[in-house]
Symmetry: C2
Subunit: 322 residues, 2 copies
Amino acid sequence: MDVVNNLDAVDETSFQAKSFFESAPLLKDADSISGKLTQFILQNSSLTGIEGPRRVVCVTSGGTTVPLEQRCVRYIDNFSSGHRGATSTEYFLKSGYSVIFLYRRGTCQPYCRSLPDDPLLECFKLASDSSIQVQESHAEAVKSAIGGHHDAVSQGYLLKLPFTTIFEYLQILRLIATSMKILGPSALFYLAAAVSDFYVPWESMAVHKIQSASGPLDMRLAQVPKMLSVLRKEWAPTAFCVSFKLETDTEILLEKAGAALKKYKMHAVVANELSTRKEVVILVTESEKKLVYRENNQSDVESPLIKLLVEKHSTYIRDLNA
Amino acid sequence: MDVVNNLDAVDETSFQAKSFFESAPLLKDADSISGKLTQFILQNSSLTGIEGPRRVVCVTSGGTTVPLEQRCVRYIDNFSSGHRGATSTEYFLKSGYSVIFLYRRGTCQPYCRSLPDDPLLECFKLASDSSIQVQESHAEAVKSAIGGHHDAVSQGYLLKLPFTTIFEYLQILRLIATSMKILGPSALFYLAAAVSDFYVPWESMAVHKIQSASGPLDMRLAQVPKMLSVLRKEWAPTAFCVSFKLETDTEILLEKAGAALKKYKMHAVVANELSTRKEVVILVTESEKKLVYRENNQSDVESPLIKLLVEKHSTYIRDLNA
């Protein structure tokens, strides 16, 4: 009985996913993105890494937007600085992974965390000879940002792909997942992006700017299909998958994280609470709920978190290859 | 009869505005903002400018957000790169105005238009001696950005105040307007920000993240009170006021711009259509509807637009002083 229900649920989701993609606005530069992906994955999978072929992780970062109008003036956005994804990307690279960084335009970039909001105007000055100089106070941050970023990209270990809307995000994620299929268990998905739960289906969307002529605005938003199931079942069935659960209410956080683990068959769920997310997260797996703390003020909670995930990924690969 | 209705309408708006501010979350650093404003306005009003005291313009720029949850994870955003406001700020400074730039965090900054999306990572490189160097291709853009910006700020002609939510925007705008009151007719408001028409009143807002457990999400958004009326009538009754009308449907654009001019007693309304807004705008005043075109590929539509507005502002000042 339960099994039947589960099967129904899965088929239902696949169906919803299918119609979501069929009705979504066409992804621009899909071909160029596919090209970059194929090249990046071929290059990196031919390298040897920790115990076997070099591992590739897809890190998603930042929030997706949901347009409320086809000629988009208004949209619903999900808050996310992209700090978690950018920081984690640095630690994955450090651990010998190659990273496909799927990020929201304008959000935090790897190696740029310790920079001020507006680096150009805050970190640089015009010298008397009208040459551009770095402010001493920011020199180190600027150097490691430009240096670290440049190294990762030029060595071919970091591929950055930007998105804005939920339509772009899910279409690019599908491209990434299907191209990573050939990596088998050495592929990892680290889904830190804040993805909209609700959206306005494109065909039912107002073409022009919604008029504010009179009275309140009533909106009905449809649920975004649970693509995690589709990712696990269809797009990349052998990859190691880590998803995130962010709540502002600690009460329901663990319960929802556990539910996500089962429902979407994730290998791990990172549970975090909005106000403490930079200090502590809870890594939820089938076998345990592990508290992961930031070690000290100089370090990040992502450091022990990625270390732990790399170990679990290694075990996963060994078990599958055994 | 008409007059009576108008009066009713105005009182109604004042009442709605009052309750909007009473229920809005308290503005952080209100005191420090007021301090900066008082100092900036005192300094600049003591200087002489074109025909009389130096003029001060408040340029608003970028879109406001509307939180859907008090501990904000989701919000509705209004699309705006802030390009119009940033560009106009440069031309106002060129024309001898001092500028209070009320901008959305992260949007385009004055003098930074010709820079790539991510200036730090795209314009700079680490030289072999590990010193930071500007890429030749971007050297000019970077110099004029840092130079122009630094000059305007250090000379005390540019005050930048950031906002994110509709609550911050309207509370800061009120602070600015009331502090600019003493400038009389030499104050100008250039309201280019994309302000939300709808919002969720704070008290009726979900405290925690809205759950996506089951089914679609129904939302009812209230109308944001028409603050333009309040600005004209109460906050800065003698200032020269220019508002903007953006539509994606050309059909209704002029009609709505004309209506705004009358309804909010603006001195001018800049009408622009989403797809052509960088090529042409229509300046709507009581006496005329004037098409303003970008002169050539090197220039901006803001150049002739600001020139025209400065003339109209001069006439306005002369008439009031006559």
